[in-house]
Symmetry: C2
Subunit: 287 residues, 2 copies
């Protein structure tokens, strides 16, 4: 059996009791470590589980899935995924390959940022499609998120923005010279995301949002040090110190909001007067 | 401290290790039992936790929240919610009241149907807003879901449809006579949902979807007996026996699909030829 086990959002104790039983009994345990991270590292997990964990990077999962699935027709293999196994990313390829090999698959669900973000106080019913924001470079500034955000905003919906993480990346020089030397991990902040969003709005100028649009920055959702900061996109460009350590994510508000959402989120506002003024003028519309 | 603890989707072992620690230590433990249910009952939970659980019905949560919050300034109170505490419903009112009373609040996230539905094989990125479907009566056939589904479909997105549950409902007669006699619980099936959707399309005739639109029926998501059936809305009117026991939910597909989604979901199709034919003609469009 292949078990896809969700680890939840924050630390080693966010695994479910069912998931922990699977981990303890499996022949091999893999940790998918390139689409998201927990706030604790591999050593903490290994000592909590009382057994070794094999870190699976993108290369292994995409090119060497048969090694992961080895003997899973008769043994149990656990594949651990931060969040929910089908949350921010899917491991559809791995499951399809398991099917081809006649390996049964079972999922142990867990919290995903897609539902955990509800702790910010916005109704999950009113979220549209989720978008991803990647680190811009001088030559690569993918803006496909913009049209999707605009689609959500046009019908009044909130948008969850998932922020890029770069782990085990090689510099162009090391890549070209074939040296397996990796850069330190990088995690996009709410400030970087807000700034990139404003840059693209300036280019596209279709009014999907603007510097005065309301948003919520979220850090370490589901963790003991979870933190939310609400403000305009312009304000959120400058709140990284308040938000603190990774992982960050962001919600851009839609107009279709409820009074209770206002009361709840206001608590997190950088500036409550600004928040109230803009909310009153632009938000809280029942569409 | 008020702890909002998610229980996940299926049985007593879906609680997280962190959540179980909270339950074991809290002064009082409430179970919110009117917006969703686990596949196991209160007795199983009590024996698993080794302590009594107070069932909180809608009346208690909405009218007697101060009793739930009693002494939570100095003691720990656990409020258990099936799924994620901020998943399909929010307990914003309770948290706002806790804030007024100076009670700190912490959330222990867990799997929600909103992310768990990813196990059906559709990318969660391509879901629009979630809608609810209630049991129609002769005089009450709320169709507000229709416009929301249409908004999602117009931009190519999938729609998760959450199905009504009726627990602790009184008949009109018992209600009027003030008799606290409750009807047996009812859980909407995929078949009932599909039929109601087709009824409303016939009335509205705006083409949000039709009998040939593709959808996935889901039963007991995240549980050991999880089951998916994929087909046209018309086909899904007749699949309740295959899907089996509650809880059910449904996804209406959007046109914006990926080839991998096709391969994954096809496995669940009532009729693979129909599925392939309609998919090829109407779906798999990159918008």
């Amino acid at each position: 059996m292949l078990y896809l086990v969700g680890l939840g959002l924050s630390d080693e104790t966010d695994i479910t009791v069912k998931g922990l039983e699977v981990v303890k009994k499996a022949s091999r345990v893999y940790l998918e470590a390139y689409t998201s991270i927990l706030l604790v590292n591999q050593t903490v997990l290994e000592s909590y589980y009382g057994r070794p964990v094999i870190v699976a990077d993108r290369e292994m999962v995409e090119s060497d899935s048969d090694e992961i699935l080895r003997d899973a027709q008769t043994e149990d293999v656990a594949f651990l995924v931060v969040g929910d196994p089908f949350g921010a990313t899917t491991h559809t390829d791995l499951v399809l390959r398991a099917r081809e090999l006649g390996i049964p698959v079972r999922t142990v669900p867990n919290a995903s940022i897609m539902s955990g973000i509800g702790a910010a106080g916005l109704q999950l019913y009113n979220f549209g499609q989720t978008v991803s924001m990647v680190f811009f470079t001088d030559s690569w500034r993918p803006a496909s998120f913009y049209d999707r955000v605009k689609e959500n905003r046009d019908i009044g919906l909130h948008t969850l923005v998932l922020l890029d993480i770069k782990v085990k990346e090689q510099s162009m020089e090391n890549l070209m010279k074939g040296r397996k030397i990796y850069e330190p991990p990088r995690y996009m902040t709410v400030g970087q995301c807000a700034a990139q969003m404003l840059e693209i709005e300036e280019e596209k100028a279709q009014g999907a949002y603007g510097p005065e649009s309301l948003a919520i920055g979220a850090a370490r959702v589901g963790g003991r040090t979870e933190r939310f900061v609400a403000g305009t996109l312009k304000e959120l460009c400058e709140q990284d110190e308040v938000l603190g350590d990774p992982l960050h994510s962001m919600v851009l508000l839609g107009r279709r909001t409820h009074e209770l959402e206002h009361d709840y989120v206001r608590e997190f506002a950088v500036n409550k007067e600004t928040w109230d003024r803009i909310w009153k003028a632009e938000y809280g519309k029942q569409l």
